[in-house]
Symmetry: C2
Subunit: 332 residues, 2 copies
DNA sequence: CTCGCTATTGGAACCGGTTCCTTTTTATTT
DNA sequence: AAATAAAAAGGAACCGGTTCCAATAGCGAG
């Protein structure tokens, strides 16, 4: 492997001149040509470590994710990766396996590796997080969660929850159940639920709403849904994720209930499969990939010291499909 | 940020002594204690770049993937990441967006960044790949594809294809269709098909088999499946991926065909949703995560110069569910 | 033709570690 | 106690770049 010193010697100039050529300092046209030729002939590429050692920075953006096997994560990563590539940065993915401790560790590790910036697909923001953010001297962007101290990009789960809740209520459903997850996940467990609840309150006179809780796991969701059907027998079930909705559909099937005739079910996320199942699933499509691109844009702007809003919302869209029926019982 | 020189000064020893302490050279107990204390007090961590500069290596394993939004990819990545972490390595993910050119570029980029090793989740191996592998001086492990020149870990798609083909034939099906993808993807497009074809040949006397082709996209698959039902009206449809199977189920539904009564459908991959749909999907479950772990083990062994087999097979498993019916027509 | 200013270039220090070699200290052997 | 070996510690060079500063050269003005 050739070094800058080799190039300099072959070209008959000093190391510093080659370095200047590479980084755009003042070099005469003639010297430029000479150096360029030598570089092309030798196929020289600068050693990244030596560069980073002195320059104290890299073009790597650390992206911390709670899990890899989730539609939301992969779509977001795709968006981030795509845009970062365009902006000449690299994405370093750090998976934490939903372990909060490892999330904190990752922040410090990335800082140590001199990541230029950190994008955190967060499930919650604890004091330990904040402390980590403060102690490292690297821009951080939160995706999916928000905190006033940190730049955040969120999916506006509450409004989306409100939208789908409203939609269901307007379809004439009188007994509506919501199947969510624990409050440890602020976006899914708190915000989505809150949005739905707000819609329910607006229809409090005609609608009876009940809120249930399960995990992100399909099998758990299926079990919980079965219980819920026995306990409450709603005419519509709003699920906090598409996966939970899959479980719910399975449960309905086991109970001999037809979707949407006997029970309407909605999801949240907009996974590709939701279009293929039958009945196809009415769901909220969150533009994860687009959000990833925005996140990449934002982190790079932060690195460059440009201004970005403290809080950004990603877009969502109600996708109306077959799994929701209209109820006209009350008109009879 | 403290440097090794600071630590040395505070502890009253030389830089080299601290370095030796850090890397396990001969240091007296007393000095050890002193240095250790200073390090704890200051929270010193060595600068990765400076280390890599001299040592000319890192503990990063580059993992090149064609796409991120695929169940197979994410599960494999999880496995790799999990095991690498245990082995004290980091995973650097490079997504190529199914662009072959970018795949080659990534190999060189990773080499330049002094990745300790490269795991390539490949869809095909071209001459450009081989040339890249030869020119970089880093261990490479191929996952999902095989080539005699390179260490490979493959999913034994052929045997798996054979297994599911055999299973379908043994269930008494007489008109069997296979819906695969183009040969550009050797594992899915060639191997799986070949396995199924072999099984079909063994039953050539009773079975009429036809092979069709679509893309990895669900919607495309659904369309193709509809055509195929019109053209051939098989009693069983073996799909090359679970996603294709989803499309096929949608197509069956549109055609008013019941699964499995009118038509049996199988998938390939073992995605989690396959258990939740109804009818639940009979499929080949490939242990992607386990394969990822093995891949991590192998690449680290290669880095350490240990021996590993040139070719390894990952495990798979037939998951028998509801989407396949037994045909007894011929017994009537 | 000399002076002053600017565009180029070279040289050396530095970034923060690792490693080789030498010196010093300590332990062991005779 | 002297000789010798082994362990511990220090010093300096080096990894491959970047950057600061001084030296040189080129050029227009006076």
């Amino acid at each position: 492997m050739k070094t800058i010193a080799d190039i300099a010697k072959i070209a008959g100039v000093a190391k510093s001149t080659v370095s200047r050529f590479l980084n755009g300092g003042s070099v005469s046209e003639e010297t430029k040509r000479k150096i360029e030729q030598v570089i092309n002939e030798t196929g020289y590429t600068p050693n990244t470590f030596a560069q980073s050692l002195k320059a104290k920075k890299t073009n790597m953006i650390g992206t911390i994710v709670p899990r890899l096997d989730s539609y939301a994560t992969s779509r977001t990563l795709m968006g981030i990766d795509e845009r970062l590539r365009e902006l000449n940065y690299h994405m370093l993915v750090s998976n934490t396996g939903q372990d909060l401790q490892r999330e904190i560790e990752s922040i410090y590790t990335l800082a140590k590796q001199k990541a230029a910036g950190i994008i955190l697909l967060a499930t919650q923001v604890t004091d330990a997080h904040l402390q980590a953010f403060r102690s490292i001297d690297i821009p951080v962007l939160l995706v999916g969660q928000q905190h006033e101290e940190v730049y955040s990009l969120i999916h506006d789960d509450e409004t989306a929850g409100y939208a789908i809740g409203k939609y269901i209520a307007q379809r004439g459903h009188k007994k509506i159940a919501f199947l969510g997850v624990g409050e440890y996940d602020v976006a899914v467990g708190v915000k989505r639920k809150k949005g739905v609840a707000r819609a329910m309150r607006e229809h409090a006179e005609e609608v009876e709403a009940r809120f249930f809780e399960t995990t992100f796991n399909m099998t758990d969701a299926a079990e919980k849904a079965e219980q819920l059907f026995d306990e409450f027998s709603p005419s519509a079930l709003v699920c906090a994720t598409d996966n939970i909705a899959f479980g719910a559909m399975k449960a309905a099937y086991r109970k001999g209930q037809f979707v949407p005739k006997d029970i309407s079910i909605t999801g949240f996320g907009g996974y590709e499969v939701t279009a293929m199942m039958h009945p196809s699933l009415t769901t909220v499509h969150i533009h994860f990939k687009e959000a990833g691109q925005t996140a990449a844009d934002h982190i790079v702007k932060l690195i460059k010291g440009e201004e970005i809003p403290k809080l950004t919302y990603s877009r969502f869209e109600l996708i109306l499909r077959e799994s929701v029926d209209i109820r006209t019982d009350h008109l009879l």
